[in-house]
């Protein structure tokens, strides 16, 4: 079978990632972001240009702005409000935050601006050793204080958890922690060799697969959390069993524009923003201050690295049996692991897609007895 999805790049995105500041008040050891110790703030005209571009897209379907970083709250409430202001009522706003700055005033801000919140926390205190302040002190207590403020204000939240070394015995501990934390949604990001983080992400296959299988078992005992990886896996598995597997992947790749603080636009992989390479340049496809975002997207494939990436997607399609589940290796993982965009399988693919699916299938195989 030839998988028919993920051919080319869609001209209309479904969301845009915005960088209100490059600054982060933490200095996590695994962070991929360059310039995170510098406070380069997005000027309001950048937000205004993006808001103008997305207005027709938000009229015809759901559209989101994801305020990412740096640490987006480090931009301050007044500035973030000024950046949000140009966007129309129909645009949904999301923030990915380390939670350390969240207090009552921020909770009121989230409610007033209807900002949906996702926090980054890696599990219990002892699992957060990589999350440190600029003074290299543990950030965990500050993270928890921020999350407690969300709970105090009854603000629902999602959580992202970075796992440095997936292995048996860890998943249950993590899942139980997030049950207690009270998040509605959980995503597990196995640490990636990416950006300025050059730590290896190569792990024994059996350990990673067992981690995911154990996570399924832990989730199944108390499935109160929407667990992203399980939902994705079961959606694919269900489609295979229903004979509609080729309908799972979208027809085209989402361009996922990341608009950096200065208005420059990096497509497909926010992790490339701020980097440059002798062969590929600075990875940008334009700047919203000098060209409409729609025009930048229309010319996406003219960006040399993107043309190479699209070749890479086709190579994944023709060579990898997991393509129907995965849709092709992420651009940033290809580049930071292989130095090219037309390379195919990455350790990120292995950790977060291949072994995820295998772990889910292992769990299903080993729990047939619970089937009716």
């Amino acid at each position: 079978m030839t998988w028919s999805g993920m051919r080319g790049i869609a001209s209309t995105p479904t969301y845009v990632v915005m960088q209100p500041t490059t600054l982060c008040n933490l200095d996590c050891t695994y962070c991929y972001l360059p310039h995170r110790n510098a406070d380069r703030r997005m000027p309001v005209p950048v937000a205004r240009a993006v808001a103008t571009a997305v207005e027709p897209w938000a009229r015809t379907g759901r559209f989101s702005v994801v305020w990412h970083g740096g640490e987006p709250l480090a931009a301050g409430r007044d500035h973030l409000a000024a950046l949000i202001a140009p966007f129309g009522e129909r645009v949904e706003h999301h923030v990915q935050t380390n939670a350390t700055l969240i207090d009552d005033a921020w909770c009121e801000f989230f409610a007033e601006h209807r900002v949906r919140v996702s926090v980054s926390v890696d599990g219990p205190r002892e699992r957060n050793g990589d999350r440190v302040t600029r003074g290299h002190r543990p950030a965990y207590d500050r993270i928890r204080r921020g999350i407690e403020a969300l709970r105090r204000h009854d603000i629902p939240f999602s959580a992202l958890c970075v796992v440095g070394r997936p292995h048996p015995g860890l998943a249950t501990e993590l899942y139980d922690y997030f049950l207690e934390l009270g998040c509605d949604v959980l995503g597990i990001n196995v640490e990636e060799l990416e950006g300025v983080n050059r730590r290896t992400n190569r792990h024994p296959a059996a350990d990673v697969t067992a981690f995911w299988a154990e996570l399924v078992a832990a989730w199944r005992r108390a499935p109160r959390i929407h667990l992203r990886e399980i939902e994705w896996s079961l959606r694919y598995a269900g489609a295979v069993l229903a004979g509609v597997a080729d309908e799972v992947l979208p027809r085209q790749l989402d361009p996922i524009p990341t608009v950096a603080y200065d208005g420059s636009v990096v497509l497909l992989s926010p992790e490339l923003a701020g980097f440059s390479d002798a062969r590929y340049g600075d990875f940008t496809s334009g700047n919203v201050l000098t060209a409409p975002l729609g025009e930048i997207l229309d010319r996406a494939a003219e960006t040399p690295w993107i043309a190479e990436f699209l070749d890479g997607v086709e190579e994944c399609r023709s060579s990898c049996p997991y393509f129907g589940f995965c849709g092709g290796a992420h651009a940033a993982n290809r580049y930071f692991e292989h130095g090219r965009f037309d390379a195919t399988e990455t350790d990120h693919c292995r950790n977060s897609k291949i072994r995820l699916l295998e772990g889910v299938l292992d769990h299903a195989r080993d729990h047939e007895a619970t089937a009716v």
């Binding site: 079978m1 993920m6 479904t14 969301y15 379907g61 759901r62 989101s64 999301h94 209807r114 949906r116 996702s118 629902p156 939240f157 999602s158 998040c183 509605d184 949604v185 995503g187 990001n189 990636e192 199944r220 499935p223 109160r224 929407h226 992203r228 399980i230 994705w232 598995a237 269900g238 295979v240 004979g243 597997a245 799972v248 992947l249 027809r251 790749l253 497909l268 926010p270 060579s319 049996p321 997991y322 129907g324 589940f325 995965c326 849709g327 992420h330 651009a331 897609k353 291949i354 072994r355 699916l357 295998e358 292992d362 769990h363 299903a364 195989r365 080993d366 729990h367 619970t370 009716v372």
Partner: protein
């Protein structure tokens, strides 16, 4: 069964090794998928108009196929 260590292109769904692996696990998967559906119902997920839960933040993306496609996701 270990993961498929030597990926190869497939000519049909039937010969696709991942598809075969999924189908081999169909009994356990059917139960797991049923559990997941019940869990979604219990969590009252699935409505695009749901504005009161963080679930919709990522469901929002999942409801938009292009986020579900994994060509990137929040980190």
């Amino acid at each position: 069964m270990p993961e498929i260590m030597r990926p190869r292109p497939s000519d049909s769904v039937d010969s696709d090794p991942v598809t075969v692996r999924v189908q081999d696990a169909r009994i356990g998967l059917a139960a797991l998928i049923a559990d997941a559906e019940e869990a979604r119902r219990q969590r009252e997920e699935g409505t695009a108009t749901d504005g009161g839960s963080a679930v919709c933040a990522w469901n929002h993306f999942e409801n938009i196929p292009t986020f579900y496609n994994w060509n990137n996701r929040p980190r």
